[in-house]
């Protein structure tokens, strides 16, 4: 096993700069805040620029299948920057979950090239809380003609998707189906979700027509790979989010004065921020390790993902909570963007398996079993 590369390459740093510059122009906190209660919670123009012009929709998809031929390491860098801005774009659902699922299940299918090229936005129809090791979902059933019946709750990035990838119980067991937006019998109901910048929807399938993509073992393996990849890369989003919270809080405490002193000079606050910084140092290493191991298909991927989620899920929440607390009253207002980060962080903690779920996964993976009996 070669040593993991935990650094960022020059190419990755260039990609980061491009994404960061674009988001700096087009995704300021005020714009994110203004959009989140409106009729269109996603920013389709921003997503088009990211997907089509910067080409981030299929970074880890090989060129022969219509992608950019980079790797999940680059995909993770994009997620860091999107997390830093809580950007309202369907990158996790489309580029990460759907892209990985199609690549694993049916790379030759023309749908992959469309999704990877950014001309079609997709998501996987599972609850955002679905964890990588969970049983194959059974809330949707398919008959032999590919007609789907059932319901999937709390699906991320479905509202803006042109394509849903639906895991269902088919006549021959677990299967994956493609359902186009606008298909007869497909219903999408926007939920009022905790995270304002990644809205959720309930998907109903009432005799909706689906096209079969994979069945049996390959279908199960593809979904598991998509969820494992999603969980591992979500750590990078959580890292970016935490870094914003830390940096913003530090800047505020350097300026804000009370008791005739700058608040940042009080040791009680300095030590809290030092601890938070220490945890982000760990998060960067854990997130990079997960991205690198997933990118290289290393045998330690399951451990790397569980470790990254066990650490980064809790870190992001803590960073956002400290951001609210140390901003005092202003941190509690709707006007200040801290709440957007808190809401995203708390939802991300549940997304794709909680830290507790992933710690218990580690118990089996690294041979630390619980009490007998």
């Amino acid at each position: 096993m070669s040593a993991p590369d935990l650094l960022y390459s020059e190419v990755e740093e260039e990609l980061r700069s491009s994404v960061r510059a674009l988001l700096g122009d087009r995704c300021p906190p005020s714009a994110v805040l203004a959009r989140c209660e409106g009729p269109e919670p996603y920013d389709p123009a921003l997503w088009r620029t990211l997907a089509a012009e910067l080409g981030v929709a299929g970074l880890h998809v090989p060129e022969e299948y219509g992608g950019a031929g980079a790797s999940l390491r680059e995909t993770a860098v994009v997620l860091e920057e999107l997390g830093r801005r809580v950007a309202p774009v369907p990158f996790l659902g489309s580029a990460v979950l759907a892209g990985t699922l199609l690549l694993a299940a049916c790379p030759q299918d023309a749908l992959l090239a469309e999704v990877a090229g950014g001309t079609l936005t997709a998501t996987v129809a599972v609850p955002l809380s679905a964890a990588p090791g969970a049983a194959f979902p059974a809330t949707v059933r398919a008959d032999a003609r590919g007609v789907l019946r059932g319901r999937v709750t709390s699906v991320a990035d479905a509202l803006t998707a042109g394509l849903l990838l639906v895991p269902a119980e088919g006549p021959d067991g677990p299967a994956l189906y493609a359902v186009r937006a606008g298909a007869p019998g497909l219903g999408l109901a926007r939920r009022t979700s905790l995270d304002l910048t990644r809205p959720l929807a309930d998907v109903t399938l009432d005799e909706a027509p689906g096209r079969l993509l994979a069945t049996g073992g390959p279908a199960v393996a593809a979904l598991r790979q998509a969820l494992l990849t999603g969980a591992g890369l979500l750590a990078s989003e959580q890292l970016g989010l935490a870094e914003w919270c830390l940096a913003t809080t530090v800047e505020y405490l350097k300026e804000r004065r009370q008791f005739g002193r700058r608040l940042g000079s009080f040791q009680a606050l300095k030590h809290r921020l030092a601890e938070l910084w220490l945890e982000t140092v760990g998060a960067r290493a854990a997130a990079r390790y997960a991205a690198d191991t997933l990118a290289t298909g290393g045998p330690d991927a399951a451990v790397a993902v569980a470790l990254a989620q066990a650490h980064c899920g809790a870190l992001a929440v803590r960073a956002a909570e400290e951001c609210v607390q140390l901003h005092g009253g202003i941190g509690m207002t709707w006007e200040h963007p801290a709440h957007l980060y808190l809401k995203r962080a708390k939802a991300d903690q549940i997304a794709l398996g909680t830290p507790g779920y992933h710690r218990n996964a580690l118990a089996a993976l690294v041979d630390l079993p619980g009490p007998v009996g």
């Binding site: 040593a3 993991p4 590369d5 935990l6 650094l7 530090v250 405490l253 350097k254 002193r261 700058r262 940042g264 000079s265 009080f266 040791q267 606050l269 300095k270 030590h271 921020l273 030092a274 601890e275 910084w277 220490l278 140092v281 760990g282 998060a283 960067r284 290493a285 854990a286 990079r288 390790y289 470790l307 066990a310 650490h311 710690r359 218990n360 580690l362 118990a363 690294v366 041979d367 630390l368 079993p369 619980g370 009490p371 007998v372």
Partner: protein, 391 residues
């Protein structure tokens, strides 16, 4: 570069058969071949090569069965004295001290902390007064590991009490065989005496053994202290290589001791240790490509907390056995060995991890000010002459 290095290693091994040569002779030859620490300059045990290439040398020589310099026994010399001498020493000092330091023929210790100057090290009261062509030193130092085996010490002492505390300090190399040096064991909560108190009474130090300018000892000491933290937190380690592995082994061997509550705590601490290990690995990768990060202080802080959490967990896991202790006899060990003793010892010794080499509280302040750029706490002691400070 790497092929040239391998050629040098091959030549060293041909000219000095590691199986036949006396270990000291082999180590001196290795130093003279520039293979001691390859990032040091030529002539001083190195080749001016990237630090990352050291692992190539170490691996090749270990594979050839060559003796090493037992780095754990001479950690203070290697990790703290050497980088300071390299940066601030005169050419004569470098030539005199570095070779026997590296080979382990001369052990070094550090005379910094005092009973009245711990976290506030710059308040130190040990005096160095000009006497003839040298200095006369009087004072008391504490927490000195290896003082009873050391040939030399790095020492900071006050040379001008009329200046504010940071500005009146100078940095010396002290001969531990001087008759004015008295070393007494200092017994710790573990029962052993890993450290010493050192009493300095009329100790003579020639001016040629001063490092850096008179009054600039504090800047020199900062180099030593920064290297100490890197040395404490910076060793490469496999998964479960530290305290996590010890506790995990007990957990696996003793299923009857497991409880649900301890299981959750163990998984949290294991994950914490593995994340810290990866962060250390990332730091080493950054250093290897010349992007040193501020993570050095972070590593020491993280490892101290984890060692305490894991060792405490192990004592609790052991239940009735945790009520016992292996041995309270006063001993003077040459090095700290966490795995050679039982759980109770590990629990007690780990308490020192957040105190030695900068307390965790001091490290948090350093991170907050130097890494995050937060403003310093208002202070009244910085510009006051040392002799006027309340004590």
């Amino acid at each position: 570069m790497e092929s040239e290095l391998r050629e040098r290693i091959r030549r060293l091994l041909t000219e000095h058969d590691p199986a036949a040569a006396h270990p000291g002779e082999f180590l001196r030859a290795r130093f003279d071949a520039g293979l001691a620490w390859v990032h040091f300059p030529p002539g001083l045990g190195g080749l001016g090569a990237p630090r990352a290439l050291q692992s190539v040398v170490d691996a090749e020589l270990a594979a050839a069965g060559a003796p090493d310099n037992d780095p754990r026994r001479i950690g203070i010399g290697l990790g703290m004295a050497a980088p300071t001498i390299l940066r601030y020493g005169s050419e004569e000092q470098k030539q005199r001290f570095l070779r026997p330091l590296w080979t382990g023929e001369e052990v070094w210790c550090q005379l910094f902390s005092e009973p009245g100057a711990g976290s506030d090290l710059a308040a130190l009261a040990t005096r160095a007064v000009r006497e003839g062509d040298g200095w006369r030193v009087d004072g008391q130092k504490v927490w000195t590991s290896s003082a009873h085996t050391a040939r030399w010490a790095i020492l900071i002492a006050r040379t001008d009490p009329d200046l504010p505390k940071h500005r009146g300090i100078s940095y010396f190399v002290c001969d531990m065989t001087d008759p004015g040096v008295e070393v007494r064991p200092l017994r710790q909560i573990t029962g052993e005496a890993e450290f010493n108190e050192v009493f300095l009474t009329g100790v003579r130090i020639p001016d040629a053994h001063r490092l850096g300018a008179v009054g600039e000892g504090w800047q020199v000491a900062r180099t030593t202290l920064d290297n100490e933290r890197v040395a404490i937190g910076g060793q490469a380690m496999p998964r479960e290589g530290g305290m996590a592995g010890v506790v995990a082994a007990t957990w696996r061997e003793r299923p009857e001791l497991r409880t649900h509550e301890l299981h959750q705590r163990l998984l949290k601490a294991w994950a914490g240790a593995e994340v810290a290990r990866l962060a250390g690995e990332r730091l080493r990768q950054q250093l290897a490509v010349g992007q040193p990060g501020p993570e050095g202080a972070a590593m020491k802080l993280a490892f101290a907390g984890l060692a305490q959490e894991l060792s405490a967990l192990e004592v609790e896991l052991l239940g009735e056995e945790g009520l016992g202790y292996d041995d309270w006899t006063l001993r003077r060990p040459e090095l700290v060995d966490f795995t050679g003793r039982e759980a109770g010892y590990r629990y007690l010794r780990a308490k020192g991890n957040s105190i030695e080499g900068g307390t965790s509280e001091i490290l948090r302040t350093i991170i907050a000010e130097r890494v995050l750029g937060l403003p310093a706490e208002p202070r009244t002691d910085k510009d006051t002459p040392w002799k006027e400070l309340p004590r």
